[in-house]
Symmetry: C3
Subunit: 446 residues, 3 copies
């Protein structure tokens, strides 16, 4: 990441000529590095992933013991896997964990035995509609074992005896997660959360993991108003565990986003928080509306990613989920098709830029008071207005100033003004800055 | 009516495999029985109608004397009619009450005289646009007489002298109405009202009268939360009279529906109560939305049926009107075309089912509190969740449970949750029942 | 203006057979009379304009001295001009103020010198897209000079020396404006404001100036509930000056309209007040909706005409702007194309009628209380209802009465009832009048 700020700078508007082009490639390279690792909701794959992330940002890695009560849940046994295969009668490995870690149902218990095809088939999972792809399946909370394979290979299985071998352990151990707290001027914080439990799947969710890593790195180079908390956690049990351990800190979370599915070519989509009209919802919608690209806004629903925990009624945090194509809506979802081809640097860069734009607005969404609320102040004598008048169009900068003056009444934030006027936030902020410099505005204390 | 419950059962969801197919036919047969009777807002036709209904349900029949003051109105004289005709010069009955009771303007005073065609025509009513149909006309509050006939017959009238004869009486007597109060666990009640004053007209409103009779009979076989009050009353003066005599009971009415025009082939339509967003409005809209058929929602307006009295500003009761094609919008309305062909058992059955579905939701629209509001409870360990995960789609039953858990925060009823989630009420109720059984919910006392 | 009322009459509904046809022509004739005058935000052209208006209505003309502080602004020097031209080397006047007062940049300082074409061009303004039209330009707040001319003429300019001559004065003097206060029964007032500062431009805004003159004259012939204040002021500095001098009176302004661009063939448009849902906004939208013509509603924005001052956050008055084609949206805007051909009597008449309709509703928008709120009162016995019933359609007059009765609950004004019912205000008012006469309503004191 070549372009970073100095610790004393505020975060710049991306509309300014900053060259972040390399970020897309760097995120992609991190995905590439993490792709081969077999992650799960616990275990060494997860630990290795977090160690790699720690080489980019100062991650604090935490371990929570099996059996720990976290609200209605219990931290499960730790799962580790070394090898697994199915051999046919000729002793040929027809399904091999070494080729793809999706081949084993995640959290499979150890097994080593010879069984008939009929019995074997009860433990096999395929996707008939996409016969070349291996599905991704898990059995976290029921002790079981199984293999996933392409439907093509499945169709070619002959009668006979098969040897199944899974060299795994499912024992007391730990659940591991990573946390990076970036302190800002305020204790009010922005939560950015991504799930790190999926094995070799790129869009869901190495794209989120790698993007959040670089977002954290980027933000750490600026002076920030908010504190930022970046969570790298296994889905569901990870967010539940974090919330259970950090209940007293939750009140600091003023805004939050879950980051997932951020590298595919689809349009950006935003799933609103349960609150539905939180500042984060309005900020993301503003960014997407002014992005110049198509996008989709999705009302909150109580399944999906970890927003379902953050938005459970006892917390009801203002946490939405920013994605490209949502989970379950692209055919490669939870299959071996979600690979290094599906995600590409330009889409990762575009997603990264949207996160940065969201942060930019959060950091700068102030409320001002017009010091001359009765009639307009005279902009011309301050050099803020052109001198020869009469044109049909008012310049957009002047419009922005007039909007800021008209709505800076103690009720409207800059984002409110941007949304009411239809103008982009950066334009409204520039106008407010110019007016503030000329002593025409004062900051509104909340 | 073959399928009835036992007194100890709650009303079942119609989605369950209950065979109510015969109800449509039974409603039709009752219409058929009531069709020949010449009803009016008072008189023996009305009494006979109520006696027949009383053979189905334990109706209480009440009589209110002519001259009784009811708010701004006065109970009118009672009208009874035995015979009426117009004879031509040859002594042939060219218009005969015995053929159709629509032939006489309802509430015509007695007359017997010979008059010219010119004078006769001042007392004749036709529908030029539908030359085969006899119109239905009334003159309740101005003493007058007249005949209704097909425009075809009218066009064939020759000059000459005509004998007009109406053997009616308009004298002090009574206004008659029927009431059936079905006691439930609560004194809060649901009002179901239909008008019984129309002569040989099927859709308006023998369809409503007969449907309400069978609805009352059906509901009486179940254990009910609400009390139900079924009114069989002459339009306008009947509801005004009932409200005047029962003013102290009105506060118990929590929901209500006027039933009219329920047997024609048109789509269902619902005219909202004056409140516009009352629970009954939301319930009926939910039922129609999930009925699988097209439907129409109509904002309240202060004319139409008895809802105009229930929704007068001094009462403003939450009473809407559930119909198929609304009054005045089908060509047969208030003509001899509104006959036993226009209404048919399948449409009557469909309307009946919608009333039952409305009652089902009213009876079951509870509010729960999630006992584990912080993060989701673990459904899997309770057997409420499938075990092998990773599919793109979450099962609809699981979605329903997650919706109920997420929104059971003390603010949302099950109907609220159904409407927000877009899922059908019965599905949300089943989910709530399952969660309640597993002690994951508690009932919210209002 | 031939049709005026008597001082004792209330303003009649225009739906009544009043012949106001001549008003369009009379407004046009006043525009014609004012067209040749070179107006500016100060000076003798403005004074002469106000003197002419004073020959129609008893205008009070006020003068405010140069240098007077008005909020953030200062009343500028007074500008007067007598002659101006550009001569070529042959001594021919190629641009002549006597031909069109648009030829000189408004507020040009005096100049008399010979300059090269190159230097001259720095002071010339044209419209390349409309090569036949002379633009209108001003330089109020920067001392400067310039000429405007058609792009055609500009393109024909040859190299050489030119003589430029502007015989103007820019000196301490006064800002002049006109005010007519028409006293009604209440001190609550309606503000009607138009800008009088534009030179030979018809739609913007001689149409507004002339229409307001005749509106004031017309209203002065009736007995009025509200007081009306008509302002004829230079744009921006005029409204700022008036507000600064009359700050204590501002609280009386309950409704207001800026009148501009009212004579062109475009559809009517209404720019809402900053409040957005003020009574004036709802009244104008009602009038336009029921006008029978297409129209456009525009949300408030803080540039445009003097509504930007009335709607500055420190005042936030309920003042909208009623126009035909809005400023800047017709090609002739601020050019010599905005001439006596662009505006026409039928459009001026239509605009006038809309202002009168707005006043009619404001004057009559009362709130009543139904004296018989429980059930409907019996309209028939009072002769308010037809006697033979049964028709599919309820007469519209009867519907209007039922709406008024149903919604006269102390919460709804007649305009509310009109908007909810979808019926035109005049119809609702007639119904309320009939019900009031029969003692079925009483007036609601606020």
């Amino acid at each position: 990441m070549k372009v970073l700020g100095s610790k004393k700078e505020n975060i710049p508007d991306l509309k300014l000529p900053i060259k972040l082009d390399d970020v897309g490639k760097e995120i992609y390279q991190l995905i590439n590095k993490l792709y081969p690792i077999c992650r799960s909701i616990t275990g060494d794959g997860l630990r290795e992933t977090l160690r790699i992330i720690k080489s980019y940002i100062p991650l604090e890695i935490q371990e929570v013991a099996t059996g720990t009560k976290v609200f209605d849940w219990t931290v499960p046994k730790e799962w580790d896997i070394r090898d697994a295969y199915i051999k046919n009668e000729k002793g040929e490995k027809i399904v091999d964990f070494a080729e793809s870690n999706l081949h084993v149902v995640n959290y499979s218990i150890p097994v080593k035995k010879k069984i008939s095809l009929t019995e074997l088939k009860e433990h096999l999972f395929t996707i008939p509609d996409y016969p070349d792809w291996i599905p991704y399946r898990t059995s976290y909370y029921k002790e079981s074992w199984g293999f996933c394979l392409s439907h093509k290979k499945y169709s070619e299985l002959n009668d006979g005896e098969y040897e199944v071998f899974i060299d795994s352990t499912l024992e007391n151990g730990h659940l591991t997660f990573g946390e990076y707290y970036l302190k800002g001027q305020q204790s009010d914080e922005v939560l950015i959360s991504c799930h790190t439990c999926h094995p070799s799947l790129c869009n869901d969710n190495l794209s989120g993991v790698a993007l959040v890593t670089f977002l954290a790195k980027y933000l750490s180079s600026f002076s920030l108003k908010y504190s930022y908390r970046f969570l790298f956690i296994p889905a569901t049990i990870g967010s539940i565990t974090w919330l259970a351990l950090n209940e007293s800190r939750v009140a600091n979370i003023k805004h939050g986003l879950v980051a997932a599915c951020l590298g595919d070519p689809g349009k950006s989509s935003y799933k609103k928080s349960r609150q539905g009209n939180a500042e984060i919802d309005r900020v993301v919608m503003h960014v997407l509306k002014h992005s110049g690209y198509d996008y989709e806004i999705i009302e909150f629903y109580p399944y999906g990613y970890d927003e379902r925990q953050y938005c459970s009624p006892g917390f009801n945090l203002p946490v939405g989920c920013l994605m490209r194509t949502p989970n379950g809506r692209f055919p490669e979802y939870h299959t071996s098709g979600d690979n290094l081809t599906l995600v590409q640097p330009p889409y990762l860069l575009d997603s990264f830029n949207k996160f940065v734009s969201v942060v930019y607005i959060l950091e700068n969404n102030k409320k001002y008071l017009n010091r001359n609320p009765k009639c307009e102040p005279q902009l011309g004598k301050r050099g803020l207005y052109r001198n020869i008048s009469g044109h049909a169009d008012t310049g957009i900068q002047e419009c922005a100033m007039l909007w800021v003056l008209n709505l800076s009444d103690g009720y409207h934030t800059l984002l409110d003004i941007a949304d009411i006027s239809g103008l982009e936030f950066g334009l409204i902020k520039s106008a407010a800055d110019a007016l503030f410099e000329h002593n025409l505005l004062k900051e509104c204390s909340e």
